[in-house]
Symmetry: C3
Subunit: 145 residues, 3 copies
């Protein structure tokens, strides 16, 4: 099964994506793709102050889907995309310390897609995020031959 087929089998509609009118969903230098920070559409609030880890993981998965869709806008296929790095921003109360568990919600999508292949990652706690979203994640993908 190709990655394009696997994405479909995972229930992701790769072309269902509404890019910003002013920002690029992703840009490319050579075979490196830099994705914009993608926010957790539908999930607002602060972890440790009203949003629990399980909900945060769902929010992170929304970001992951949009990151994949963003990279896809540059290639038209997932087959040659590999995730190399995530930077996961969690809207956090000052005493919330489970950012890594929240961002696992994004990593799990990519572990499934890439059969457990590991990516680099940072998970960090932010005092606030644009429009109050619970999670925002940016990514670096490689375009492989």
């Amino acid at each position: 099964m190709s990655l394009d087929e696997k994405v479909k089998a995972m229930g992701i509609d790769i072309e269902d994506f509404s890019p910003s009118p002013t920002l690029a969903p992703a840009t490319r230098i050579g075979n490196t793709i830099y994705c914009s920070g993608h926010v957790s559409t539908g999930y607002v609030g602060k972890l440790g102050a009203g949003v629990d880890v399980e909900t945060g993981k769902q929010a992170a998965r929304v970001c992951a889907e949009d990151l994949l869709k963003a990279a896809y806008t540059l290639t038209g296929t997932v087959n040659n995309l590999r995730l190399r790095k995530l930077l996961g921003a969690v809207n956090s109360a000052p005493d919330f310390t489970d950012q890594h568990l929240v961002i696992n919600g994004a990593s799990e999508l990519f572990w499934e897609l890439y059969d457990g292949e590991k990516h680099a990652r940072s998970a960090l706690g932010f005092s606030s995020l644009p429009n109050g979203f619970a999670v925002e994640i940016e990514a670096v993908f490689e375009i492989v031959d």
Copy 2:
């Protein structure tokens, strides 16, 4: 009009730049330039706690000018520089959620310089920044042929 000429027409003195004695304003791997985080010289304080969005936008524009100057130190010309990504850090009160509007102050400089060409971007809220600056932004530029 070349980009070097356009920068001048926009009132930016590209060589008026005081680099850190210990940190590189920018480094290069191949044709990718990684800029250090550049702070909003002249603008301190927290958005949502004393600094308003309009002032924050001006602060972000200061960062944008310095990012361009930082990249220029590696090339000696703007003509072959293209902005690919910004990471915008806004010194934010916990309930401030307009980081994207603040960082627009940086993006607008690049949209003008590059005739609306889009870059990738993250805008994020930080509990505090070095020396209390209101904004700090880092950037990735491409050197094109």
Copy 3:
């Protein structure tokens, strides 16, 4: 003295490293290495609320050692590794503004290793970090010929 020899002379056991079972310590695109955020093992707490700058610098140095070890896992030598960029995350009280001094604890290791060669850097204040660690740093290295 080669960089491998210098690392040893600096008291760093480059192979003493315990990678995450699920995340890559570092990944590579071409000659660019992206390191995961590495946390300050042994150092928890918030700068400006119980952790002082000197302790924070020690925490940052722990991160720096692990970043070097992470990059080494991809090359098996330090001789061809050059640091190009750090992003330093400091677990910060809202009024703490010396993030740059804390992250100097990491930069100093690299300045010593690379005879003062400068890297690009951002230092930023975060409301909280995973498991309450005091510092988390990510890095970009270049593999040179």
